[in-house]
Amino acid sequence: MDDQGIIMTITINKASTGTGLKTVVEKISGISLDACYQCRKCSAGCPVAGPAKSAPSEIIRRLHLGAGDELLENGLVWMCLSCETCYGRCPMEINFAAVIDALRSLSLEKGSKTPEGNMPLFNRMFLSNVRIFGRSYDLSMIAGYKLGSGSLMDDMEKFPAMLKKGKMAILPPSGADKKTVRRIFERAKQGRGKKK
């Protein structure tokens, strides 16, 4: 671990925005955070605690201490790779990756500010293509993401080689049961509406 990600003093004002998130995060994820005793094995193994400037055990402690919506803008929320090393090494078997997923869905619901890289935009582009074609359509997804994030020229030099080597399909995918896929997207969206 390379910088201040691990050892730190946490200062928070109780639920500085809205009410404390712990209960709702536990409800969405189905994971109880009460057993965490801050051994920090999760943080020691986290590959992005450095660049995210935050670590799994810190997020849990902040939730214990009553953190509110401000936590949804923490760097780890969208930088977490879901590698699940934290869960794999937790002596109390707390599935922290599921906790991060719950924080992400709350962040989307509440329209929290998203960090550099704009992962929610990437996800929207990915899922909108799946909704239309029933399968991922990389070319359209990447173009949509790069236009939206203003990173159109990044990786341009890779494109000809990927085309030549057949690693990027030009035509959209076909053959999926699109009807079922659309139904799933519709129903999941309705479910999200009901929660509010």
């Binding site: 699940e84 899922l127 799946v130 990389d138 994030s149």
Partner: protein, 290 residues
């Protein structure tokens, strides 16, 4: 040996080589792969980062198709494998999730379809002895770093794939092919794949340190079983010198490409031409079996 084959989206895009080598090797060994008609995307990272019901319903729809075929599902992509297994866990451990998934998909799913990764089938069902007898070529002592990444081994209580911290299934295949599987510390580290387009700098850092470790342990190549790992290590290798100051020519091959070579399958049929870093060291070491 007959399975419902779920290719996954990357099979027709960034991981055509995984699909080509996987299906060709399976055919050569008498494994019958019946592609699931109408299969759709598993939702990947984007779905589970967005909505828990969406993330379980997309895989469930595909497992219902496999169930109708009366076959176990066989997957070659580590991410699809992970999403299918997590979904089985979600619907079988929570009645709320089971109800919500049934509502979204339009029919109930109980989480009962067995999901297998191709390498599990190769080692557990075909067996190393039959594999050894089928090889016409040998890796000739090639030093191979077997790289597993995250999605096959974690969460281990759900994927139940080999061992969580020190898996050896790829190493066993490498040794059976006459290669030398090397001992190295990066086996289950994360390549950063999920951030490939959004935070490329993080991917370059994490994947670069994985190649560093393999190189320091003397690897001639890295063998993978996940299309995200392959893309991070192979496609991003050319970006590494600019950010880290370190340059590599480390071939990143699918384990099924190595198996294809040892089974005497022509290079083109296992997608060897599609790799960004040419597998020169692999081909130089390859020889006919003694």
């Amino acid at each position: 040996m007959k399975y419902a084959y779920y290719p996954g989206c990357s099979s027709h895009s960034t991981a055509r080589d995984m699909h080509e080598s996987g299906t060709t090797v399976a055919r050569a060994l008498g494994i019958n792969l019946v592609e699931i008609e109408g299969w759709s995307c598993c939702g990947a990272t984007a779905a589970h980062q967005t909505d828990r019901v969406l993330a379980a319903s997309l895989p469930a729809a595909n497992m219902l198709l496999a169930k109708r075929m009366g076959l176990d599902m066989l997957v070659t992509c580590a991410a699809c494998y992970n999403r299918m297994k997590v979904t089985n866990h979600e619907v079988s451990s929570s009645t709320v999730m089971r109800t919500r998934v049934a509502d979204a998909v339009g029919q109930p799913y109980d989480g009962s379809v067995a999901v297998r990764h191709l390498v599990e089938v190769l080692v557990e069902d075909v067996g190393l002895e039959k594999l050894r007898n089928s090889f016409t070529h040998s890796l000739g002592g090639l030093k191979v770093a077997s790289y597993y990444g995250c999605l096959l081994v974690r969460p281990h209580d759900i994927t139940n794939f080999d061992d969580a911290e020190n898996p050896t299934i790829l190493d066993r295949l490498v040794n059976a092919m006459g290669g030398e599987s090397i001992d190295w510390p990066g086996k289950v580290d994360c390549c950063g794949g999920g951030l490939n387009l959004t935070r490329t700098d993080v991917v370059v850092k994490l994947s670069g340190s994985i190649i560093d470790m393999a190189k320091a342990a003397g690897a001639d190549c890295i063998a993978v079983a996940c299309p995200m790992c392959q893309a991070s290590l192979d496609l991003r290798q050319k970006d590494m010198p600019k950010q880290t100051g370190r340059r590599y020519e480390m071939p990143i091959v699918y384990i099924t490409q190595l198996l294809g070579l040892c089974l005497g399958i022509p290079q083109k049929e296992i997608g060897l031409n599609r790799l960004m870093i040419a597998p020169t060291a692999v081909l130089q070491s390859l020889g006919t079996k003694a």
